[in-house]
Point group: C2
């Protein structure tokens, strides 16, 4: 029987160590920048994306060392997006993972620059991956997909659609399009990148894409549900803000009960996509159950 | 006799076409993002960094097609840095290249996101370079150096030192350290990246690094001089602001006359570094003269 709790604890500790080494403290005149980057990067997030990247690498028989720099890069990009999202000109949030947001501590200028630096350094970490010696083409391909997932056709596009869509009711298809970019693209890139660096076949890449797409959407539907149901204390960030901001959400569109059912359906769909994988995909299966049951 | 004027006109027109193709207009719900990116990217800047990249590629005998995606990436990163620099929480500028700054037209949120997207897409453009088929290792190495030049140990560090140093008098060595990061790092990466993709030898890379370092500093000294001497109309951006912001500058530290002499000395140093190059380096030599004589 696979023990997800223990697995998550071990893997998030590993990711924490990798991130700590990837963004070291410096002594020079820009030490405050490193401090701001590390403040948001090493704050004990769930590390879902890097854990998915490592799990996908193992599911196809790869060794996690080959995917470790990539896992760091993914979490650095996720963290930059949170720092910029929280800025006063964006969602204007002052609480994240139970602590003051980056700009509350370091000011808006430094928070903007810390986000910029995390995004940029992510590509350096990935391009300096030891795997480059053996398989430079795999690394370039992974960089390309990650940049596309995070850029103007992926995550940033999702942010813009979300921003421009506030206060205007969306159809279900439009909401799915938005989340496919805002959350889904980075989930898919995390899983595909980990698998590619682990030596996945084309058929494995295909199945894992279906898995990751369903899982990413599932994650977002649950996020929307938790924003309605959970308290600020439980979540460590301000909740109930989607409605206050006139944001489009699944509970807003489908109601809570149908949203819960939709999330369970997406989780089942993710697991079904792994039918041809052996027991090495057990963590990915367990993660699909975890995402739908999570309370924060 | 090499005609720099005609060369610059041809090359900046080429860069404009490359950039136009690299960041296409889209039709979807995030079309406004593309518009914001293109507003700042296609505004007829000097294109000095991509022109340097292409010239360095040719100076070592490469064909410019191999460096074209890299040249785009460099200018996209430069443009993102200008958009974020101009934000109210940073330099709070409302004029750039004779037009309202990005956030004045699109608002702060979209300007922040347009910068994020240009930075991210730059790596996608580079990683999708056709050269990947023939030389993936060269492309990864170029990505690594570019990300390092732009990230927390390079350009962003320079920004932070500049920001934290406002109103505090710096020594000359400190000012050089600042500019080595804020402007110099991207100059050096532009020249080195173009040369690497053109097939440069280790010795050529070494000479070109010396060239680029001197040229980058020269560019910054002249920038400081123009901020004192030129009018807002000439420059297309607000001038005289360094002193108003309590910024550390070369004229502030050395006086105008010694700053001019220092700039000329740096330009000579850049040209001297190219002693072992043949006539294919003529554009690089002419660019070193141009940078010190430029009026905007």
């Amino acid at each position: 029987m696979f023990e997800l709790d223990r697995y998550l604890k071990q893997r998030s500790a590993l990711v924490e160590r990798l991130l700590d080494a990837a963004v070291p403290r410096s002594e020079g005149p820009s030490a405050r920048l490193d401090e701001a980057m590390r403040y948001s990067l090493l704050d004990g997030g769930k590390r879902l994306r890097p854990i998915l990247a490592l799990a996908a690498c193992e599911a196809v028989g790869g060794g996690i060392d080959d995917a470790a720099p990539f896992a760091c890069a993914v979490e650095m990009i996720h963290t930059y997006s949170l720092i910029h999202d929280d800025l006063p000109c964006m969602d204007d949030d002052d609480l994240r993972r139970g602590r003051p947001t980056n700009h509350k501590v370091y000011g808006e200028a430094l928070a903007t620059l810390a986000g910029d630096a995390l995004l940029t350094d992510a590509f350096a970490v990935l391009a300096r991956s030891p795997l480059v010696e053996r398989a430079p083409a795999l690394v370039v391909q992974t960089i390309a997909e990650l940049a596309e997932a995070a850029g103007s056709r992926g995550m940033v596009a999702g942010q813009v659609i979300d921003l421009l869509g506030e206060g205007r009711a969306m159809e279900l298809a439009e909401l799915e399009y938005l989340h496919g970019r805002k959350t889904g693209a980075l989930f898919v890139a995390s899983v595909r990148g980990g698998a590619r660096l682990g030596g996945a076949s084309a058929a494995e890449m295909e199945s894992l894409s279906v898995y990751a797409k369903a899982l990413g959407l599932c994650f977002q539907v649950v996020d929307d549900i938790l924003d309605v149901e959970a308290s600020t204390e439980q979540m460590g960030k301000r909740t109930g803000k989607d409605q206050a901001h006139g944001k489009n959400t699944y509970p807003g569109l489908l109601g809570l009960e149908r949203s819960r059912e939709f999330a369970r359906e997406l989780s089942r769909r993710a697991v079904a996509a792994l039918a041809n994988f052996d027991e090495r995909a057990e963590p990915l299966r367990a993660l699909a159950a975890f995402v739908v049951e999570r309370k924060l």
